[in-house]
């Protein structure tokens, strides 16, 4: 277990300067994620058009892993269709839970989060934004949690 694997430079950078951070005027989908035990709160806003994410923003407060994961996710899903996002969700989920380097291929920048799987107690931090995104896409009103 190496801490440098968890807090890679890319992750620290996204935590310091989260991309697509803030509220989205003109959002037509949104959802909230909340992990009260660790104190992670997230609100994701989407502007969907023709089943494609035209724009995305998120706001909230959380640990470096949850913030960086949301920031990197926002970059990764912008311009993607629902079907593409579903595939990506599957790949991220495999990356976070399995010891199988092959699944990391094709994830691009998101592969920086692969170190999280060595820290089982932190997987819920990295996955909160993805489950919240799913809820936003599904139009579900209930807040999401991964605890």
């Amino acid at each position: 277990m190496d801490l440098a694997d968890l807090y890679r430079d890319v992750i620290v950078d996204h935590n310091r300067r989260p991309r697509n951070f803030g509220r989205l005027v003109g959002a037509n989908h949104s959802a909230e994620g909340n992990n009260p035990l660790c104190g992670d709160k997230l609100h994701i806003f989407l502007e969907m058009k023709d089943d494609v994410v035209r724009d995305i923003r998120f706001e909230g407060a959380g640990c470096a892993i949850s913030t960086a994961s949301a920031s990197m996710m926002s970059e990764a899903v912008k311009g993607k269709s629902r079907a593409e996002i579903a595939d990506l969700f599957g790949s991220v989920h495999r990356m976070l839970t399995r010891h199988d380097a092959e699944t990391d291929a094709g994830l691009g920048k998101l592969a920086a989060l692969s170190g999280v799987r060595e820290f089982p107690m932190r997987v819920k931090c990295a996955s909160l934004c993805w489950h919240t995104l799913n809820a936003a896409l599904a139009g579900s009103a209930a807040p999401v949690t991964t605890e």
Binding site: M1, L6, V12, P36, C63
Partner: protein, 414 residues
């Protein structure tokens, strides 16, 4: 509190540490600095051995058989009750009920004392400092009875406002339930004053003593409370065992809470006669080994002396407060003048959850999160804090390790 001689100078922490086998282990290649005692404390060999000896040589069910082992198990179990009685200076062992812990004790009082008595519009008063276990059982009771839960406010130091508490004790107040020591902030309440005010008005008082008994000498008769609850695992005993002290007059008037074996004198389909105190509230086979372990922990604490433990821990608190104060961006949450030995804090730009992971990599175990006291977090406007809580075996070197680990985390993450 009884006068205690200043014996701080003869408290030998290195020797005390030898009593705790777990303190010898490494965590992530580093010596363990266990600073999460307010969540659960480690057990000395005397406790571990007492539980093991019971399992190896004396185990049987209690209060039942005529055979030798049943007699031995019963004697050990009841001896532990007598130790618990002495530990909090209850008048009689009939006032000492063994339960799973503080949470179960508070639920028992809510359901067996509160539920039959409370009417719609009656009030239960707690403070803003309470652990969820001293909030939720009362909320459930309110739903069942139509009673109302009221909350005495705190100030920015984390001190319960006594004047406003007094003002909230009204003609409909039936129960006051207060933490003796706050688990999230460490605030020590001048609990006697709070109890006196409630007693004068004929209000039932319950004290959540889970965070007090490992650090302070408690005397329930001197306090004058009606109920006092505590857990074994916060005071160096196993999990799954705790004590409810209840004034006999009140316990005797309470209907049983759970039905089963051990809480009856006779059962027939025409009717059942309930057992005497304290067994009436101990339905089913109890945690015999846990109670014996709790008794051993009481002996262990008694041999060292609560006064000496308190001195040592207050020294750690002062040391930690001064060593951490100059860490850039660190803000203490909870700065009451009277505190037990814990520091709760936030560090600007570094989330507690990340701190917890980085500290763990350095062998330093702390608690991060809301500490089961979400109203406290809400009051201070933080989602979570980092809490380092000290026990009798902690030492200044571990606080230095905490400081180094915090600086490391800041360099890494901010």
């Amino acid at each position: 509190m009884a006068a205690v001689r200043d014996t701080h100078d003869v408290f030998d922490v290195l020797r005390v540490r030898e009593d705790f086998p777990i303190l010898a282990r490494l965590v992530n290649g580093r010596p363990l600095a266990y600073l999460d005692n307010a969540a659960s404390a480690q057990q000395p060999a005397a406790v571990i051995d007492a539980v093991a000896t019971y399992a190896r040589s004396h185990h049987a069910n209690v209060h039942r058989g005529v055979h030798t082992l049943s007699h031995e198990a019963t004697s050990l179990y009841e001896a532990a009750r007598e130790k618990a009685r002495r530990f909090v200076n209850a008048a009689a062992t009939t006032e000492i009920i063994f339960l799973r812990g503080t949470t179960e004790a508070i639920n028992l009082v809510a359901q067996a004392h509160g539920r039959p008595r409370l009417k719609p519009g009656d009030e239960i008063l707690v403070s803003w400092l309470e652990h969820h276990s001293n909030i939720v059982p009362w909320q459930m009771l309110c739903e069942q009875t139509g009673a109302v839960l009221r909350v005495a406010p705190i100030d920015r130091r984390g001190v319960v406002d006594f004047d406003r508490y007094l003002a909230m004790l009204g003609p409909r107040t039936r129960i006051v339930a207060l933490a003796h020591v706050s688990n999230a902030l460490g605030t020590v309440l001048p609990i006697r004053t709070f109890i006196d005010a409630a007693r004068e008005r004929g209000i039932t008082t319950l004290v959540d003593g889970a965070q007090a008994v490992p650090h302070l000498q408690v005397d329930v008769q001197a306090l004058g409370c009606d109920f006092y609850a505590f857990s074994g695992h916060k005071m160096y005993a196993p999990t799954g065992i705790g004590v409810l002290y209840g004034r006999e007059q009140l316990l005797a008037a309470m209907p049983p809470w759970q039905g089963g074996g051990d809480m009856i004198l006779s059962v027939s389909f025409d009717g059942t006669t309930y057992n005497h105190l304290p067994h009436r509230f101990e339905a089913g086979t109890p945690n015999i080994g846990g109670a014996i372990g709790l008794g051993a922990a009481i002996d262990y604490l008694g041999a060292i002396g609560m006064g000496r433990i308190g001195h040592h821990e207050q020294d750690l608190l002062e040391y930690a407060t001064s060593r951490l104060a100059d860490i850039p961006g660190l803000a203490f949450v909870g700065t009451a003048p009277e505190k037990s030995s814990l520091v709760s804090f936030t560090i600007e730009g570094v989330h507690p959850h990340d701190l917890g992971t980085v500290l763990d990599s350095q062998g330093v175990a702390v608690r991060t999160g809301h500490h089961c006291a979400m109203p406290v977090m809400e009051y201070f406007g933080v989602p979570a804090t980092t809490r380092a809580s000290f026990g009798l075996y902690n030492m200044r070197a571990e606080i230095d390790a905490l400081r180094e680990a915090l600086l490391h985390a800041i360099r890494m993450l901010r």
